[in-house]
Amino acid sequence: MTTTTSAPRTRRGRRARLPYVLLIPAVAVLAVGMGYPVYWQITTSLHTYGLAQQFGQPAPFVGLANYTRILGDERLWAVVVRSVLFCLVNAFLTVGIGVGVALLMRAVNRIVRVVLQVSMLLAWAMPMVAAVTVWKWLFDWRTGVVNWLLVQLGATSYDQHNWFAQPLSFFFVASVIIVWMSVPFVALSVFAALTQVPDEVVEAARIDGAGPVATFRWITVPMIRPVLAIVLLLQIIWDLRVFAQIRLLQDSGAPVSETNLLGNFIFELGIGRQDFASAAAVSILVLALTVLVSWPYVRSLLKEDRS
């Protein structure tokens, strides 16, 4: 800009630049904290990264060799199948139970509803590490409440039963914890949506002879479908990235290689074995999968922004 520019034009110029100036700090921190790691992983996944490179040797470019190697690895596929299964089972369980709890909140009187809502909120508020620690104690083999209760109910084989030794019962405990932690969000969101279904419509359906099940299926579900869809999508996205709960439960002596999910697999490859090229390749695949699965959610948010 030259010095001859008149004052009003300068002000307009400053005004046009202002939004970009306001974005600088956020863009900078995202570039450092997220952008650079993504860039590093892409380049690392396209090069050899062995012991020599750890000590500063140049890394030869190998194209997609890391990807083909990792995609040919049975261990990866075992982890992928396990992760997807675990994710889907937990997401559908969580949404199913959450909708059930939301319907309960609608069906009961005010006092019971408040009790239910407060319990949900307390469970939701528990920090993840604290929640896993408490559940570990509930499932403790020697003095845990769960084993004690099962024995009282007649299942005497659960006396001193170790839940973490077998992969299947390990994942059962992990699912209990994740469903317990995730149901409150679903229940409260769906309940908020249910309160918006007009009573007149439900009443009209009943007068037309629809039973409670038909009313729910043909009136309630279509009206709360947008919330159901988004809640299910978010659960799938969140349950695909379960890492910490598994890591913490593995501390209880579980067979690690048989209980790893995708995040744990990356951790083991990278931090554990220092195989950064493979870890970077798997990370990129996980990021691509996340973007793919989250796309409907991102698009709906973007649509909201445009309106």
Partner: protein, 309 residues
Amino acid sequence: MSATVRVRAGAAARPAAADRPDATVRSRRTGVRRLAGRVLAGLVAVAVSLVWVFPVYWMLLSALTPNARLRAMPPTFWPSAATWSNLRDVITGTSFATALRMSLAVTGLTVLVVLGFAFLAALAISRFRFRGRTAFVLTVLIVQMLPAEGLFIAQYKMLSATGLLNSVIGISVLYTAAIVPFTIWMLRGFVEGVPADLEEAAMIDGLSRTQAFWRITLPLLAPGLVASGVYAFLQAWNEFTVALVALPAESAQTLPLWLRGFLAASANKGVDWGQVMAASTLLAVPVIIFFLVVQSRMTSGLVSGAVKG
């Protein structure tokens, strides 16, 4: 659908159909059946409440119970021999103070920086239309979905290359980058809720743009800033995954890492669950308090975006 999620979860529902006068014309049999249904629903609801609240109750109760009693079978489900010794032992242990200091430093720094950065960005995208705006919004929305597990190997390498492993600054940068996107999105809604006309009216009345901002807009945004701040606090305070790779040294542990280590150390000599639950309680109590303050906003923030429009 925009109204759907604005309603607080706790808002009173409309009166149920059974309470209405037109229900009286129905046969008594339907009435009895409906009453039975309501009683059953009430019983199920109480059972569900018990299942969901029990772990929280059990944590608090165990924290206040001597370990000898916790080891005894059958377990006691109500307070019988309350003691503060578990909590006292944990608090006076040296590792707790170190971890608490670390957590406070990391969380405090993260919350302040996140709020500042996100507020400026939210102003930009809600008050201005400019080239590249959609690209920025799209980036923010995608970045907030990226899982820490897909990035932490690179973040670990980045911090170790710059000598920032185990430092408050290093992990705070990672936390800020992870938390800023959703906070921008959250604050954007609040900023749009304050009409720009209000600011302009104040300027016509003789305030400068800066004055109008400080005296009119900012006070109206205070609830949004508080909600976003609590959101950022909860994220940073509870975070485990990134901390696990960014803070490998025991002396640099935040509280979630410390709790994990506390349990592991206790396991070596037969777990002292009373102390472990006291440690969990110390991590959880501030969170539960903050969470109850802010939860309604968080529910609507997460879902509303998707439902509106």
